[in-house]
Structure formats: C-alpha cells, structure tokens
Amino acid sequence: MMRLPKFRYYSPRTIADAVAIRSDAGPEGAYVAGGTDLYPNMKRRQQTPKVVVGLSRISELSRIGEQNGRLVLGAGLLLSNVENDPRVRAEYPGLAHAVSEISTPPLRNMGTIGGNLLLDTRCNYYDQNYEWRKAIDFCMKTDRQQICWVAPGSPKCLAVQSADTVPVLIAMGARAVLSSGREEREVAVEDLYRNDGIDYLRKRPEELLTEVVLPAANGWRASYRKLRRRGAFDFPVLSVGAAVWREDGKVTSARLVLGGVASAPVRLSAAEAVLAGRPLDKESIEAAAAAAAGPSRPMDNTDFSFLWRKEMTAKFVRSALADLV
C-alpha cells in the first residue's frame, strides 16, 4: 500500500474555525477539500503537512446561488455538481464543458471547484514517488537548494499550471473570494496566479477560497479547448480558454488565455487586440490564431514534445474561437 503520512485531521463546520486552525498550524498545515490533488501529493511525499484541515463539512462552501445577476459558486462544490447544475449548463456552457473534461467521473464526485483553482503545478520530474525523486536527486520544488531538472540554469521552478477550469474562468472574467477569518477580499481569478512553479499562488497560505463568482451571462460567450494524450482522461498539456463580447455583430472585446504552457495561465493580449472591432469570422480568427503562437512557450516537462505543443497553440486557439462563431 502507498500510505498517507501521518497527520492530525480537523473537520471544522465554519469558515472562521477553518481559518483559525489553519493559521495556528503555520507552515505545517494544509487545507483539503476533495483531496484528489493533495492526497496523491502526500502519498508521493511531495507535501507532508502535519495538520490537515478538512473543508467537506462546511456547508457554507457548497452553496450555489445568484447575487446581482452573477452566479456564485461555493468553493467546496463538487465538480460533478457544478457540471450538472442546470444554470451552469445553460448559461455557462464553456465552464460546464471545462469541468466535464477534468479527470474522471468518480474523481469529479470528490474533487471541488475550489481545489481545481488551487491545483498544484505539475512536472514530469516532480509527480513521481519519493524513491524515484530521491534516486535522481530532488529538484528545486522539493528542496530549494537543488537545481531544476528541466532547465538546470533556471533560477525558478517551471512546473506547469494544469487546472482545467482556470483558463476559461479567467477568460470570462470570473472573480474569487478569499477569507482570512474576519476579513474577506474579492480578486479577479487572473490575479490569483504567479508565474513560479513553487510559489504559484498570490494568496496567503491561511486564506480560504470561499467563492468563485461568475459574471452575469449576457453579451458574451466562452469556450474551452484542451490537448491531452488520452480522450478518456488526462491533465491538459495545452489548453485555451476564450471569451468574446459582441455588439452589432462586432467583437467589442475578447480574452484569450492559455493553460499548460507556463507556471501561471498566459493572457494572449496581442491576439485579443486583433479581434477587437471586427466580426468573429474566418479571417479574424486566423489572424488571432497567428498572433497566439508567439507567447506560447511550453517547457519539456509534461506529456508530448514541447515544440509540438507550441505548434498546436494556433490550432487550439482557432478551434476555441470557432466554437463561439
């Protein structure tokens, strides 16, 4: 058996208690929602928190409801509940699709939307068991004194942003609510991430993600396209979230976001600018796709050749935009 390391487990019923316990634990602590990211990492001894704060019994985190026309998803909602929610399916089909592409049905019965936003970055040299990593010497993400195996000269870890919902949430302009007990702050989902494989989140460790807020569903549409080896299930190794706002048949603004090519999601500002003021048609889509490949700089640390992943960027941007025509 591949066993979990020992830890003390707490199951608070309120957000305030969860934050308090997590704060007390300091660097030894971790939140766990569905555990479908944290527990495999713990089994591989990538993370060995001594205090684990379970979120599954905080009913406040599993609410879903409307607020000023925006749809508010509790961070603790199971992926399968998000995927099957009639409102999400009808008004946010791009998100429903992205969620349905995450792992497998039993994992979506365990994993949460909040856990997906905060998913650890991934790398072929890191997502291995303890003995494997020790045998070639640990890399920087395990031990800061060591080098990066992907780019030995790199001053930082290049592990890859791999969460399926993130590109499409950023494209549609979704926001995240973070609680530190007494205080709450709302940030754009885009501002949650930092392009560093180790410190990949711009949030304090004890801050609890409580809600994901979707903008009112009018005037725009969003789509998601994902590259992976197996259709049945696999992490994305290149993905595109796209959202387009239109008025009188013309694009007023667009957001294009790549996943799987850096430690943070990558905005394609040049390609977005190409679309503005034009109808969404074959020519404008071609022009946007052509502008997308440059900023896509995948590294050789996930599945498939990184050169091929880069080459696929234009095609995937094209498909994501074609979904919105």
Binding site: R3, G35, T36, P40, F233
Partner: protein, 194 residues
C-alpha cells in the same frame, strides 16, 4: 516497508468512526490518516475492494459513498462518518446475483477480475440513476475504470445487457459476443476449421 522518513512524532493513534457498510452499521477504530480503502481491507476484512495505483488513476478501488462512486484510495476513512458505503460484497441479493454480476459472468466481461469490483459498482450507480443509458453514457461513466485484459467492448455490452434485464426486458447476450463472428447455425459451436 516504507522507506521515507517518518516525519511525525507519535500521535494519538485511533479514531472511532461509525458508518454504514452494505446496509449494516459498523463502528471501527483506525488511525486518522487511513484511507477508506485501507479501512475496508484491513480493518473490516472486506477485500473485495481492490488496490491498484492508489493515486486515483485506475478506478479499481471505486466504492459507493451515499450512492455515488468515489475512489476509496483517496478518500479518508473518517470522512465516511455517518455516511453509507457500498462495496462489491454488498451487491448481490440474499439469493442469486445482481443483474450486473450475472451479465458480467454470462458475457465473460471479466478475465482476471481485478478491475471488476470497481466497474460493477460504478455501473451500478449509473443504472440506479439512469435505467436506459446510451453506449456513450456507459463509456463516460466508466472512463475512470481501467481494464488491462478483458477489453472494454464486453464490459460495455454487459452493462447494456444488465440494464435491459433491470428494465424487465427479456434480453439475451449477442451471439457474436459469446462466440465471435464465426459460429455455426446452432449458435453453439464456434467454427474453428471450416
């Protein structure tokens, strides 16, 4: 057998947890970091639930918690407190087999059988929610259950057959599935050398 350093000082080592397993209330004491898979196999001697990858990738450890398939290798035993757990041991009625079990046996949809408990339970949850799943719905429901020997066609056909039986239809296995495409008129004897 663990070779990694044990990072914790001795901890208060056991929790008492009450939940339902296959319709029976149980109370078990186990270490708080144990997964449901470990609790089922080691503390409840229910070894029908198999361990494979133990990282959420293969589906052989799938059980039902409150009717939904979950992967017991990534589910804490103590998260089951107050919940309803179903394992393969609880599938068959007092006499006979569950229609899925009978269909898998009739069609030879299990070879080594290692993936079978997880597949049976995942399929049961599907049929409990949807009496007439399409082939695509069956494939999607079983997308997380790897089988390395039977191949998926017989497995999908067995789920379709069990679904038909459950709907009260008088369905039979397809002859091609049982005998291949080369069988004689009687449908019983495979034609080997014509």
């Amino acid at each position: 057998m663990e070779t990694f350093p044990d990072i914790l000082p001795a901890e208060p080592t056991r929790v008492h947890v009450g939940f339902q397993v296959n319709g029976e209330s149980v109370e078990v004491a186990f270490a708080p970091h144990k997964t449901l898979l470990e609790v089922l196999r080691e503390d409840l001697a229910l070894t029908g639930t198999k361990h494979g990858c133990e990282l959420g990738e293969c589906g052989t450890c799938a059980v039902l918690v409150d009717g939904r398939p979950v992967l017991s290798c990534l589910y804490l035993g103590l998260e089951c407190a107050g919940r309803r757990v179903e394992t393969v041991e609880g599938m068959a009625p007092a006499a006979g087999l569950h229609p899925l079990q009978k269909a898998f046996a009739d069609l030879g949809a299990a070879q080594c059988g290692y993936c079978t408990p997880g597949i049976l339970l995942t399929a049961k949850a599907l049929l409990d929610a949807n009496a007439s799943p399409t082939l695509d719905e069956i494939k999607e429901a079983l997308a997380g259950n790897l089988c390395r020997c039977t191949g998926y066609i017989k497995i999908f056909e067995a789920v379709e057959l069990a679904a038909a039986w459950t709907r009260g239809e008088d369905a039979e296995p397809r002859k091609e599935t049982l005998y291949g495409t080369d069988y004689d008129e009687s449908g019983l004897l495979p034609v080997v050398n014509r």
